[in-house]
């Protein structure tokens, strides 16, 4: 087990390096640059800016310096676009925000998703199944860019219960709406995957045997069925968890939370190279980490799976 984890962490290093190289190539190949604007800058001014940010050097040198600064100083450079901040500032400021609402969204989505999925599977093709499945789907049919404005109109404008946006260091009133808006689609996905895999498990030989023995349903589900049924949910949750805790551009844009979700889109649209690389590496590292966790959990669920 330990050697497996160590091996995977070692593999992570070249993986991230490859990720950095690919991202750099894509970034430089795309038209535009961080200092292009409607009004083209005079050449002398542009030259100064490029010299200051090292953009006048060959691509390979830029890439090498970038990696060197990360390895030696853990320095991700200044933001090219938000010039009062470094990339580390922006991530240090925004990541706790997305981590907070992402974590709660995860808790909500997993709790309700798994519960609805299990209920629907146990009461397969009954009204309870339709109700559970229907409400899971119902929660997810509104795309979050439709749901978010509706939530604000209802809870802020009409009812006046919750603020319509902002973060204020994560006071609970500011967290509720982002969590609701973010969790719904994940909730529905988890419920439906859960239902499907639970049905499969309930129909498998060993559960039938258990039922034939007259064990109570509740006990069968808790003791025997739940664990194997979670397997596909876990596969889904690896990337989904990363997506949740790194936030969502829709949530950040509509609720002005100041999270890092918006940087995935905005920094790319602005060609803010250093921020793009910063969030890309963050997501890459988290993706690798949580897929490792998922693989370990596989082995826990199904001891036959060899790591």
């Amino acid at each position: 087990m330990l050697s497996f984890i160590l091996r995977r962490l070692l593999v992570a290093i070249p993986t991230i390096l490859i990720l950095i190289v690919i991202s750099f190539v894509l970034m430089f190949a795309a038209p535009g640059g961080p200092f292009n604007s409607e009004r083209p800058l005079p050449p002398a001014v542009m030259a100064n800016i490029e010299a200051r940010y090292g953009l006048d050097q060959p691509y390979v040198v830029q890439m090498f310096n970038y990696v060197k600064n990360i390895v030696l100083h853990f320095d991700f450079g200044p933001s090219f676009r938000l010039r009062d901040y470094t990339v580390s500032d922006l991530i240090a400021q925004g990541f706790p925000v997305t981590l907070t609402y992402g974590f709660w969204a995860f808790v909500v989505a997993v709790t309700f998703g798994v519960a609805l999925g299990v209920v629907a599977a146990i009461r397969h093709n009954t009204w309870l199944d339709y109700l559970a499945t229907g409400s899971a789907i119902g929660a997810s049919v509104l795309p979050n860019f439709v749901l978010a404005p509706i939530l604000v109109i209802v809870f802020t404008l009409w009812l006046g219960w919750l603020p319509g946006g902002g973060w204020r260091g994560g006071q609970w009133q500011y967290v509720v709406l982002p969590v609701v808006a973010l969790s719904t689609s994940y909730l529905a996905a988890i419920a439906r995957i859960m239902r499907s895999s639970m049905l499969e498990v309930l129909n498998s030989g060993f559960i039938r045997t258990a039922r034939a023995k007259g064990l109570p349903m509740r006990r069968i589900v808790w003791k025997h069925a739940l664990k194997p049924a979670l397997l596909p949910v876990l596969s889904y949750l690896g990337p989904a968890f990363v997506a949740m805790i790194t936030g969502s551009v829709v949530i950040d844009v509509y609720f002005s939370t100041g999270g890092i979700g918006q940087y995935f889109v905005n920094s790319a649209l602005n060609r803010d190279y250093s921020v793009i690389m910063g969030v890309t590496i963050l997501v890459g590292a988290l993706t690798i980490l949580f897929n490792l966790v998922v693989d370990i959990l596989y082995a826990w669920i199904d001891p036959k799976i060899r790591l």
Binding site: V146, P232, N291, K304
Partner: protein, 306 residues
């Protein structure tokens, strides 16, 4: 779907099947016994008729602007049989019915293409990685990790710059991302399935790995794959509007449900609820229908479910 081409079911449970009836016929019988799935299939059919035949009913072209309506939508652009604007008009004074017809058609195609790519590519990729295991698995999965993390927007922008905008490029853009998480799910399931007795039995009798994957692994993935594919449909429909935002996708005067909904959502509270309502209705109806059809398929295809 990948499974339908494979009527041979080597599962022990297959022995329960009555002689002379294929799994496929059996699945079909079971599918139609599921009322929600059957109704949903009918709904999907109706939506398809609307999307492909609606233009015959539309009173206006989707790109013609009624300059007398522009700017006074809230009072004059309301849905009405009298004016022939059944769904009202959009912000530019164009007939929303004709636009919804065309948008639904495009989004339907996108949803189906996206999930098909995911089903075919994602399932096979994941099943191979999971089944072969070891270093191959490690490399294949790290590739997926990287693809999940790269700033994908630049890939789309480069596609636009290099190949120009076209519907084909839009489908390529959709296809490139849709299979990634499917691959992870398929691999996870495969890890567990490959230790089952029937797979070990097949290995022992010398069946070739590819055959094992196609005949034994993939059919057992079907349940999860079908369900996840239906989950991907709305995701792809929304994702399309992002691709179009970058310029790679659908260009005016053509439209899609995704852009109709996002433009309608921007007008919430501006007295033109139909601009969101009608496109959203078709989106939601489509999703419900796909979900229940997906569940129905899953139930029907589950070899153990009697």
């Amino acid at each position: 779907m990948a499974l339908t081409t494979d009527p041979l079911d080597p599962l022990p449970a297959a022995a329960d099947l009555p002689q002379g009836r294929s799994l496929w016929a059996d699945a079909r019988r079971r599918f139609f016994r599921n009322r929600a799935a059957t109704v949903s299939l009918v709904v999907l059919g109706l939506i398809a008729i609307f999307a492909f035949g609606g233009e015959l009913v539309a009173q206006y072209e989707r790109d013609t602007i009624d300059f007398t309506l522009i700017g006074i939508n809230a009072t004059k652009g309301v849905p009405s049989f009298a004016t022939g604007h059944y769904f009202g008009t959009d912000q530019e004074g164009r007939d929303l019915f004709a636009r919804t017809v065309q948008g639904t058609r495009l989004s339907l195609l996108i949803g189906i293409v996206g999930s098909l790519v995911a089903v075919v590519v994602g399932t096979l990729y994941g099943a191979i990685a999971g089944y072969v295991g070891g270093r191959v698995d490690s490399i294949m999965m790290r590739i997926v990790d990287i693809l999940l993390s790269i700033p994908f927007m630049f890939v789309l922008i480069l596609l636009l710059v290099m190949f120009g905008r076209s519907l084909l490029m839009l489908f390529i853009g959709i296809g490139l991302v849709s299979w990634l998480s499917m691959a992870r799910i398929a691999r996870g399931q495969t890890l567990s399935i490959k230790n089952k007795e029937f797979v070990e039995a097949a290995i022992a009798t010398g069946v070739r790995p590819l055959t094992i994957i196609l005949r034994h692994i993939v059919p057992n993935l079907a349940g999860v794959v079908v369900v996840y594919a239906t989950l991907l449909i709305p995701e792809m429909i929304i994702y399309e509007s992002f691709i179009s935002f970058l310029g790679l996708g659908v260009q005016e005067p053509n439209t899609s449900l995704g852009s109709l909904i996002s433009r309608g959502a921007a007008q919430i509270g501006n007295g033109v609820p139909w601009q969101l309502g009608f496109p959203l209705f078709f989106f939601v109806a489509m999703l419900f229908a796909f979900y229940f059809v997906g569940d129905g398929l899953r139930d029907a295809l589950d070899p153990k479910d009697r």
